[in-house]
Amino acid sequence: MRALLVGFGFLGKELIKALRNKMDLLRSVDNGFRVVGVADSKGYIYSGDGLNIEKLSSITRLSEYGGYKLGGIAAELIDGDLCDVMIEVTPTNIRDGEPGLTHIRLALSKGIHVVTPNKGPLVLAFRELMSLAERNGCDLLYEGAVAGAIPIFSLVRECLQGDKIVRLSGILNGTTNYILSRMFFEEISFEIALKEAQEKGIAERDPSYDVDGIDTACKIVILANALMGRDVKINDVERVGIRGITQEAIILAKKSNYAIKLIGTIDKRLEVSPKLVPINHPLCVHGTLNAIHLETDLAKEITLVGYGAGKETVSAILNDLITVLKKRSRRKALGK
């Protein structure tokens, strides 16, 4: 299978390293697996025989590889019948989903499988993209889009096929959880905890996307649409962020054995807001950890805890890729 990687930022580079380390595993599933192209925002590299993964994992800019086509765009590689699976890791843009939305639409319409952790296209066009994938007989897998390395979609898809999810709640943003954890343990103000998170590279210079609950709301939309059969948009989510949380409120909560956490909830309503979580509740995790608590009709309660962003997301992307490879190998074996 020929793979195309679109996006060569932090996640793209980490993925290349993981592909290099796991190449034997990938080839054991599909002996023809190779990365034929990598595109960034300014151009791309391509080789039909497969790029040198060792060399790719040692460079910081794509132009250092050699044969870099400056001015080339990813769409040329997607449109030219040059790949079988596209891994789309361009930055999330929830305003119009671009450039990821165009890449994914084009790939699916050509019958190319898509693996992506990119939230933007999924928040804005989940139903459209899923039906495009179905019509063209290809897969769209997005495990890394919500809660990074936590295998929430795979778990529900594979292991809870007969269950109905009654309620889902979770800590889905590592940045806000880090800030609230620092406020809880050190009893410092929001402003100081935010500054510390920014200095450590955990929070962006403009933290609005995280601290105002927008990122969590995006994830709630994807989870509701993918796991609970809803058809909702970001404006359907009631949203309150954590800017207003005071040091005093954290201390008052703590005295009653609660921590304040930014919780996304899907039940009758869709909500993102700071909540009082008992300190012995399985959702009460600290630092940059994420946690998802499912309540279902049969299994009752299940909690998953793990890292929601950063290089751990590579685990989810790799699993999706192996899922695609296995499915295709199975179809090939059946002569389909």
Binding site: G244, I245, E248, A249, L252, Y258, L276
Partner: protein, 154 residues
């Protein structure tokens, strides 16, 4: 509740129909057949009703069937919830507000600045009305431009 049923066949079944119709779950029933008083038998029931309204409806329907109610008492299951309000909060307005039988039973405030009050509220509310109580407090918080932090699972 204790009902006085005529000491003749079919009376107990007749009395149970409104209870079942209104979703009542019978926890215990004591039919004191050996203690008839002037042709009536006392029957004591403990029933779990889904709401106050279903309890009232049952009482009214029993009365309309001509069944004598000797005694009825409603015990409402209450849940204790903790909330935190942050902002310029008018405490009197919050304490005076009553919603669906909820009562504020505890309050602790921390006020580093007058415009930045953090208040912890302990609220006791009927188990069946928790969503309404949370919605009411949310509205109050919004009116006062305050942030409400509610329990994760009210």
């Amino acid at each position: 509740m204790t009902l006085a049923l005529a000491d003749k066949p079919g009376q107990l079944l007749r009395a149970l129909e409104p209870i079942a119709k209104n979703g009542g779950n019978i926890i215990s029933i004591i039919h004191e057949r050996d203690k008839p008083v002037e042709g009536y038998v006392p029957v004591s029931l403990v029933v779990d009703f889904p709401s106050h309204q279903s309890f009232r409806n049952t009482i009214n329907e029993l009365k309309s069937l001509g069944i004598m109610i000797m005694r009825s008492e409603e015990i409402v299951e209450k849940v204790r919830l903790t909330f935190i309000l942050i902002g310029g909060v008018d405490l009197r307005k919050i304490i005076e507000s009553r919603v669906k039988g909820a009562e504020i039973i505890g309050l602790e405030a921390s006020t580093p600045r007058l415009d930045e009050v953090s208040v912890k509220l302990e609220v006791e509310a009927p188990a069946g009305n928790l969503d309404e109580v949370v919605d009411h407090l949310k509205r109050l918080a919004k009116e006062q431009n305050a942030t409400l932090i509610s329990p994760i699972y009210p």
